[in-house]
């Protein structure tokens, strides 16, 4: 193998070291939140953490796996439902939140083996059908009593302040775990496979990447994330009405966050969640027009800024906060930017 002294491969850049350190510091500061903030602020931040989980895991599915699902509310709702059931069976309420997500991740495994054989739009709506079916089946449970719903009564065992703080810590912890899992996943061999599939599935398969197995890992991870988010949402909302949890609006939120933040970028999904959180805080009260705005923004971003704000920044400024890819140094930057990475098939017929 020829070793060109002018070219070397590196993962960690000074910027990425600072970013990781910065992220760790931010998380550490956030962990002390309940000591300083009032319950209202704590609840808001808890919501933000749940949004980050939703955005990051939906992005893993769509942005990295190339699988747009409009049915992730299936796992969101099932996560909440499983938590209700576990708590009802006497499991500690916070343990049941986590356990519920693990169980639903296991449930998603058989679902994946058959949904993943659908392509593109068929997968997207097929997942919606799965969500509808889950919703209807959950409604049959006598504990849930159809749309009447039930609530996580076990939470009453905790005093209000303790409950808010616990919710906050569990959500923060869950978010951190999700981020770390995805970070480790993307840096592993699976990560290279994921990115290869994202860029060109057929080429990846031709190079011996296990496309199905890799997609299944992402699918289960995304289901785990959505279920965890659903269970956490239940902990903050206490009541479980199937309609709210299995509603397609959750998918709308996820799509909005990821499209605006940056489809297929790790940082973008977090940014998108933050933007969504702020927009909701400012405009959420305007009701229907707020939803029209969300849909219109998603539509416009998908057509004109398909890689979102972060993707745009990344391309514009070569920004890379996290050491997820490899940077090859010594190649002229012009050549790097000119390489098309949108996966479009080259036009045929050269001679």
């Amino acid at each position: 193998m020829s070793q060109d002294p002018a070219i070397r491969v590196e993962r960690w850049t000074p910027l990425s070291r600072i970013s990781i350190l910065g992220a760790a510091i931010v998380l550490a500061i956030l962990a002390t939140g309940p000591l300083f903030f009032d319950n209202n602020a704590i609840d808001k931040l808890t919501t933000l953490f749940i949004y980050v989980i939703l955005a990051v895991t939906w992005n893993a599915l769509a942005g990295y796996g190339g699988l747009v699902s409009v049915g992730q509310q299936a796992f969101f709702g099932l996560g909440a439902y499983a938590a209700v059931r576990l708590a009802d069976a006497g499991v500690n309420v916070y343990a049941s939140l986590i356990l519920a997500a693990v169980i639903i991740a296991a449930v998603s495994l058989p679902i994946s083996s058959f949904m993943l054989r659908l392509k593109g739009g068929e997968f997207a709506i097929g997942m919606w059908v799965v969500a509808e079916l889950c919703h209807l089946l959950v409604n049959l449970d006598s504990l849930v009593q159809g749309e009447t719903g039930t609530s996580l009564i076990a939470l009453n065992a905790y005093e209000a302040d303790t409950r808010h703080a616990l919710n906050y810590w569990v959500a923060l912890g869950s978010m951190t775990v999700i981020l770390v899992i995805l970070f480790v996943l993307l840096r592993s061999r699976i990560g290279s496979a994921i990115q290869a599939i994202r860029d060109n599935e057929e080429a990846a398969a031709a190079l011996g990447v296990r496309v199905m197995g890799t997609k299944r890992i992402i699918f289960v991870f995304a289901a785990f994330g959505a279920a965890l988010a659903g269970a956490l949402w239940l902990a903050t909302a206490i009541t479980f009405q199937p309609k709210t949890y299995f509603g397609v609006q959750w998918t709308a939120y996820m799509i909005f966050m990821v499209l605006v933040g940056g489809l297929g970028t790790f940082e973008g999904a977090i940014l998108g969640a933050l933007i969504f959180f702020l927009i909701e805080a400012w405009f959420g009260a305007s009701g229907v027009w707020y939803l029209v705005g969300l849909g219109a923004t998603a539509l416009i971003f998908s057509l004109f800024v398909p890689r979102g704000i972060w993707g745009w920044l990344e391309r514009r400024y070569g920004l890379n906060l996290l050491p997820l890819g490899y940077r090859i140094l010594g190649i002229r930057p012009a050549a790097r930017t000119a390489i098309p990475n949108d996966g479009a098939a080259p036009s045929a017929g050269t001679s």
């Binding site: 997207a124 489809l263 029209v292």
Partner: protein
């Protein structure tokens, strides 16, 4: 016993409606290789348009279709040229994301305009909404349901004739097969696709009319209609015209029989049969591929 027969008859008739709503989705899929997630919402747009024309201007829904269907065609053309065409250039994911975004916009604009009330076109079509022919004491055929079913057959037959007998129809088929090559024989693929989208939305408009006449609808009714259309189209084999009629009938019968079993059974059985058909087909494909491989190896 006769109750079950009646449920099956009703299911078959219901399948006619599903065929009407599914054929536009299937048509767009076969021509443009994309699934329009705003499909159901656009049917609701047509239903509301008919409702307004009937409610405010006293127009009979059938007469009002003379106005609404051209408007739907124009909407389809504009939609294709402004949103869909651009989204198709963005790869596989973008059409799904953009049409989903569009559906959210449409649904909520309808909600903004019409609120949460459910509406129906049934009051404007007088006895047609409830009249029926009795076949036996237990089996009856609703006139509206029969009309819907006949319309489904006319639409599907008409589309087939159109695709095989007219120059535009042939151009649509050629563009579906090889959009890059049609330009070389003088066909403007963009205009052909826009025409196809216009035709698809005319069928969506008709579906919206029948939905409004046979049931109630509200601003957020588009999602379920998309799902039904999708299920019928997939059961029938996505992209196959007469397949959508079979798919619609299978879905309708499943729902109708399910409803007889339990009140919640209508939707559950429908979804379950859809997933079962999907699973069966994927499974058969695997068996088929393995079989072909074995044959090839031994040959």
């Amino acid at each position: 016993m006769m109750i079950w027969v009646n449920q099956i008859v009703q299911g078959i008739l219901l399948g006619g409606y599903y065929a009407v709503i599914a054929c536009g989705l299937s048509f767009m899929f076969s021509v443009m290789r994309m699934i329009n997630l705003a499909h159901g919402s656009l049917a609701i747009v047509a239903a509301f348009a008919l409702f307004v024309l009937a409610d405010q201007y006293g127009l009979n829904p059938f007469t009002a279709l003379i106005l609404v269907l051209p408007a739907m065609a124009a909407l389809g053309w504009v939609l294709q040229r402004t949103i869909l065409e651009r989204s198709q250039r963005g790869g596989l994911l973008v059409p799904i994301l953009s049409t989903f975004g569009l559906s959210i916009v449409v649904d909520n604009l309808l909600f903004e305009q019409f609120g949460a009330d459910t509406r129906s076109l049934a009051p404007f079509i007088d006895e047609l909404s409830y009249d029926s022919w009795s076949i036996t004491d237990d089996i009856y055929i609703g006139k509206l349901a029969a009309l819907t079913f006949v319309t489904a057959i006319i639409i599907l037959g008409g589309l087939q004739l159109f695709l095989t007998r007219t120059q535009l129809g042939r151009a649509i088929r050629a563009t579906a097969e090889d959009p890059d090559t049609v330009g070389l024989i003088g066909i403007n693929a963009k205009r052909v696709n826009a025409a196809a989208a216009a035709i698809a939305l005319v069928t969506v408009g008709i579906a919206g009319a029948f939905l409004g006449m046979r049931a109630t609808f509200d601003a957020y009714a588009g999602g379920p209609q998309l799902i039904f259309a999708f299920e019928a189209a997939v059961i029938g084999g996505a992209g196959s015209l007469w397949g959508t009629l079979i798919g619609g009938i299978v879905l309708g019968v499943a729902q109708s029989v399910g409803a007889q079993i339990s009140p919640q059974g209508f939707l559950i059985t429908g979804h379950a049969v859809f997933l079962a058909v999907l699973f069966g087909r994927l499974h058969l494909d695997t068996i088929g591929t393995t079989f072909r491989k074995t044959v090839r190896r031994s040959a």
